[in-house]
Amino acid sequence: MTMTVDELVESFEFFDDWEDRYAYVIDLGKKLPPMPESEMVEENKVRGCMSQVWLVCEKDVAAAPPVLRFRANSDAFIVKGLIAILLELYDGQTPAFILETDALDVMGRIGLDQHLSPNRRNGLVAMVERIKKIAAEAN
């Protein structure tokens, strides 16, 4: 799970139609490491309207500098794929990196920014907010 932002953007440049792009997103979602059932509980739920999103974070202090590790899941395939992209960006990164990396900008570069617009109540926006909040607290 260590694609740079540029590599991620590059991997999407192969697709010129939306159908292939979504198929790739769904594929990324299928490859997302499974989240234990025990973590898919109410307290880990990120507020969302159309689909459910769960997020768990652990601080890895053994790493130098310390990084944040995330696990997340959704019951919707496309959302799960978008989560996989967000985790490509943020998983295993330092709080400082997370705070300075704008997910909306990256989503825009791969043509998926409509899913992160603030009026989409799909849990993803809330997930990014929660990741940022955790990073701010850990920073």
Binding site: C49, A76, V79
Partner: protein, 415 residues
């Protein structure tokens, strides 16, 4: 009036209707708009848009206040809209027609005013298992506030109200039956007259949530004999921000005001105030003036086209869509009542409703995904959500084909 509105041809001219809705000729993602979410909010014909714009540009002031021409004229237009609503529901008098902001506001008005003024601790309200949250939560709040009992009438797997079980719930403590006229998720049309008969025999009043009914079929509140009927303008091809509560006069008279403020009083003194006559008693503050006038224009429009014709057209769409969608492998329809409005909720294999809505959006198809503000109903069917296509007076069989083809694409993508 458009060709559609003045049509004498018994054959429904859907193309003439479509020509009256400017938004229907727009494109989304480079595809023609295929709007199948009228159950959430319907599009507006130019007759509504133009009249509202005309008022803002040419004749606007507050109502019931000024002695000058514009205020008097717009008061006339506002009250004329009330008369249109009265005729639309076949209510006995304009005193029965209370304007509010939407159905939710209308139901809350009944909960707070009838509930607090005419009910006591231990009295019962019966709802059904297929209510929108707006016909569940106000009664829960009332329960928590004053200890009423909230009972839920079950439905069958087809989505029909179980009349036997409903009758069993009625007791001499039942003061109100608050039930949807058409389910927003399942499309089921509830047996309104039977509900009223049974409830009245038990001494209970009846409120129908007509949000999903008024645009699909003619409503006659005197024939139904219901005590309250609530609906909203924006699902009836009118603007948002305007809704209606019909109430029988003696029932409304017995209810205390809910909101206090200007326009709802007769006299105000610090020692106490007296209330205005119906319906002003329930219309505190400046009302949604131009929205009410817009609702009047929407009523003119649908009655001009003819609700019987609309109902027949939509019945054909429902039948065709049910047939097309049923043929898709793995697609399951929720709501198979014998009497249904043109609403189809479904799930499709492993694809989440949110996935489905996202993919079909790329084909220009607008559908609703999620719990549809009816979480208890979702639990009843053991799903977290469904995808819903809801049809209106302007939809076509070709749009049903567009939906079916888009769903085939969903199947290809999700394998």
């Amino acid at each position: 009036m458009s060709a559609a509105a003045g049509a004498v041809n018994p054959v429904y001219d859907v193309e003439a209707v479509r020509a009256d809705f400017p938004i229907l000729s727009t494109e989304v993602h480079g595809k023609p708009l295929c709007f199948l979410d009228s159950g959430a909010s319907a599009q507006k014909p130019k007759q509504v848009i133009d009249l509202m714009r005309w008022h803002y540009e040419n004749e606007y002031a507050n109502v019931h206040r000024g002695a000058y021409a514009y205020s008097e004229n717009i008061t006339g237009a506002y009250e004329a809209a009330r008369e249109k609503v009265r005729a639309f529901l076949n209510a006995p008098s304009e005193r029965n027609i209370v304007f509010c902001s939407n159905t939710t506001a209308a139901i809350n008005l009944v909960a707070y005013s009838f509930g607090r003024g005419c009910m006591k601790e231990g009295d019962e309200v019966i709802i059904s298992d297929m209510e929108h949250h707006s016909n569940i939560v106000p009664w829960q709040l009332l329960r928590d506030m004053m200890g009423i009992v909230l009972k839920v009438a079950p439905i069958t797997d087809d989505g029909e109200l179980r009349m036997d079980a409903f009758r069993d719930l009625l007791t001499d403590r039942t003061k109100l039956v608050a039930i949807t006229h058409v389910s927003n998720v399942l499309g089921s049309v509830t047996p309104a007259k039977q509900i009223v008969d049974a409830a009245h025999q038990a001494g209970a009043k009846v409120l129908f949530d007509g949000s999903q009914a008024v645009m699909h079929m003619p409503i006659d509140v005197q024939d139904l004999d219901c005590d309250f009927y609530a609906f909203t303008g924006h699902k009836l091809y009118g603007p948002s921000g305007i809704g209606v509560l019909y109430g029988k006069e003696d029932v409304l008279d017995a209810m205390p005001p809910f909101f206090g403020g200007g326009d709802m009083i007769s006299t105000v003194a610090y020692e106490g105030s007296t209330w205005a006559e119906l319906p002003a008693k329930f219309e505190a503050g400046t009302p949604p003036i131009v929205q009410a006038i817009g609702l009047g224009a929407a009523i003119d429009y649908v009655t001009g086209v003819g609700l019987d014709g609309i109902a027949m057209h939509e019945a054909d769409l429902l039948q065709y869509a049910t047939q097309r969608l049923s043929a898709i492998d793995g697609l399951r329809i929720y709501g198979t009542a014998g009497h249904k409005a043109a609403v189809i909720s479904f799930t499709m294999g492993d694809a989440h409703p949110h996935d489905i809505a996202t993919i079909v959006d790329r084909e220009g198809v607008c559908v609703r995904a999620g719990h549809h503000c009816a979480e208890p109903l979702m639990h009843r069917f053991g799903v977290t959500g469904t995808t819903r296509a809801s049809f209106g007076m302007y939809n076509t069989r070709a749009e049903v084909d567009t939906l079916a083809n888009a769903l085939e694409k969903v199947k290809r993508i999700f394998g």
